[in-house]
């Protein structure tokens, strides 16, 4: 494991009954890299995210984070170590105001450690974060229950929640899904800023055009197996990828 490697998946596999959702996937992630994970529906992308973040225990294989074996570790411990994640289906605390959603993250044991026990003004910190992802600081929006916010705002909230944890790695499960072109366009700079701040990202995406603008490297899954890996332009030339993924998209 080279010094720059922050996360390593070794022969990661998960069977659900007879279905091999993820089948012997290995990859490594370098610090400050943006890794795209693409593949057709049902190819195992979300299961891969669940395996890394502890939501699903692998049938076989290992996950090494920062030199530490975190295979099968409880999700809250994985988060505490510094791997944040978002969900494809947004999962805010619906009955809390938007900024209070972030307060829950700002109260976490990880933040307590990082801040040396001095939390400061959490409401202000929460509002700072929301501003970073594109909310207007003084608007009524952030004081309203999350349940009343439109989908695009909830996606931003999801990203802000990941950022609140001050993680090393952020695993984003289809952050762009269900967003309009304009909304995606406004999210891209936020992601680029995170990268500039030194964060490492794993982005599961269907929106290839936007992903390729951000991602340094891409891995392609099909039927749970990794069928290609490389820089975006290379991967798209791979005949297997074209057949499995782009082929099916072209037919639609």
């Amino acid at each position: 494991m080279s010094e720059k490697t922050i996360l390593q998946a070794q022969d990661l596999s998960k069977n659900f009954g007879g279905v091999k959702a993820v089948d012997g996937v290995s990859f490594s992630l370098r610090r400050n890299e943006v890794l795209g994970v693409i593949g057709p529906n049902g190819s195992g992308k979300t299961t891969l995210a669940n395996l890394i973040t502890g939501f699903v225990k692998p049938s076989r294989g290992k996950v090494i984070f920062d030199g530490k074996n975190i295979t099968g570790m409880a999700p809250y411990k994985v988060a505490d170590l510094g791997i944040a994640r978002s969900f494809q289906m947004v999962k805010p605390f619906y009955q809390l105001p938007a900024f209070k959603n972030l307060n829950v993250a700002l109260l976490s044991p990880r933040l307590r450690r990082l801040s040396g026990g001095r939390f400061g003004d959490r409401d202000a910190m929460a509002k700072d974060l929301l501003e970073e992802v594109g909310f207007e600081r003084d608007s009524w929006v952030i004081t309203h229950q999350a349940a009343s916010l439109p989908h695009g705002y909830l996606k931003r909230l999801e990203l802000a929640k990941c950022m609140a944890l001050q993680p090393e790695i952020i695993v984003l499960d289809e952050l762009f899904s269900g967003l309009s072109l304009a909304e995606v366009a406004s999210m891209v700079p936020v992601i680029e800023k995170l990268v500039a701040q030194g964060k490492t990202l794993v982005m599961i995406e269907h929106r290839l055009k936007e992903l390729f603008r951000i991602a340094d490297r891409v891995i392609v899954l099909n039927f749970g197996q990794k069928i290609a890996e490389g820089v975006p332009a290379e991967v798209m030339e791979d005949p297997q990828v074209r057949g499995a993924y782009l082929g099916s998209e072209a037919e639609e």
Partner: protein
């Protein structure tokens, strides 16, 4: 007579609210329906009686001790039993109900039956409200009910742990991604609910004797209030307590005292037919959103 009915209806409603708060808080936070709830309520009564009479402790030691032990037992029930069946709702219900039966029937087996099992009232006096006699203990109950409901509101809205509780209550998966240990919070929530049951027992039980059967009655009443109000909804609990509380007193005044329990059962049946999620239940709507 009307004045008396109103006063006793109000007191009875607060009693129901007190009894239901703990059950609701546990369910609201961790989704655990604690069917050992009634048993824990009665246990708090017996423990405090044992502290007072067997150990000869002063009230200020025996009562808080009973609350602490009851909460501790509840936390252990979560940690050693519920944790293994977490997420399997039917198993959770069977496990807690089984524990409840074991606790209650153990007290019966050990011979805790009789009129000597009583707790002292906080204040032994009575007052006149208008032309109705009300004993001071009943006023203590009203005070305790308001205090405990207010504390719950304050705790969940203005404290760190309370915010974590609400987070878990609203989405356990997301709470996990923020580094919150859901099992620890759930264990706390079960202990917290049991602590509320114990406090309710300490103020309500002085009105009568501590009896094993009281455990079953308390469970039925708590369930009735929570089902009618909507599980996990504090506003629902308060509204449902007053609906059922007044209905019970009206039944006792104008029909038969022995029919009071029927009111709870009929209320459960009626709401399950008309609006299964309860008057203020919001689980359904949330599911639809997602």
């Amino acid at each position: 007579m009307l004045q008396g009915t109103l006063i006793y209806g109000f007191i009875n409603s607060v009693v129901l609210m007190l009894v239901a708060l703990g059950f609701s808080v546990t369910f609201g936070i961790s989704g655990v329906a604690n069917f050992a709830y009634g048993a824990l309520y009665v246990m708090a009564g017996y423990l405090s009686w044992l502290g007072l009479h067997s150990l000869g402790l002063p009230y200020w030691l025996a009562a808080p001790g009973a609350v602490a032990i009851t909460a501790g037992v509840a936390a252990m029930i979560y940690w050693f039993i519920l944790l293994r069946v977490r997420g399997l709702v039917v198993s959770e219900v069977i496990a807690t109900f089984g524990m409840g039966l074991a606790i209650l029937e153990l007290f019966r087996y050990l011979g805790f039956i009789g009129f000597e099992y009583t707790l002292p009232p906080l204040i032994d006096a009575s007052v006149m409200i208008g032309d109705t006699y009300v004993d001071a203990q009943r006023l203590c109950i009203v005070g305790a009910g308001i205090l405990l409901a207010a504390f719950l509101w304050f705790f969940t809205h203005y404290t760190k742990t309370g915010l974590a509780f609400r987070g878990i209550a609203q989405d356990e998966r997301t709470a996990l991604t923020l580094g919150i240990n859901a099992d620890k919070v759930a264990a706390w929530s079960v202990a917290f609910g049991a602590g509320y049951a114990a406090l309710a027992a300490l103020v309500i039980l002085p009105l009568g004797t501590i009896a094993v059967n009281e455990g079953y009655n308390v469970l039925v009443n708590a369930l009735a209030v929570c089902i009618v109000g909507g599980l996990g909804s504090t506003v629902g609990i308060i509204v449902a307590s007053f609906l059922i509380g007044f209905a019970q007193i009206l039944t006792a005044t104008y029909l038969e005292t022995s029919w009071m329990m029927l009111v709870s059962l009929v209320a459960i049946l009626a709401i399950l037919v008309i609006k299964p999620s309860g008057l203020f239940g919001h689980q359904k709507q949330l599911e639809e959103r997602i």
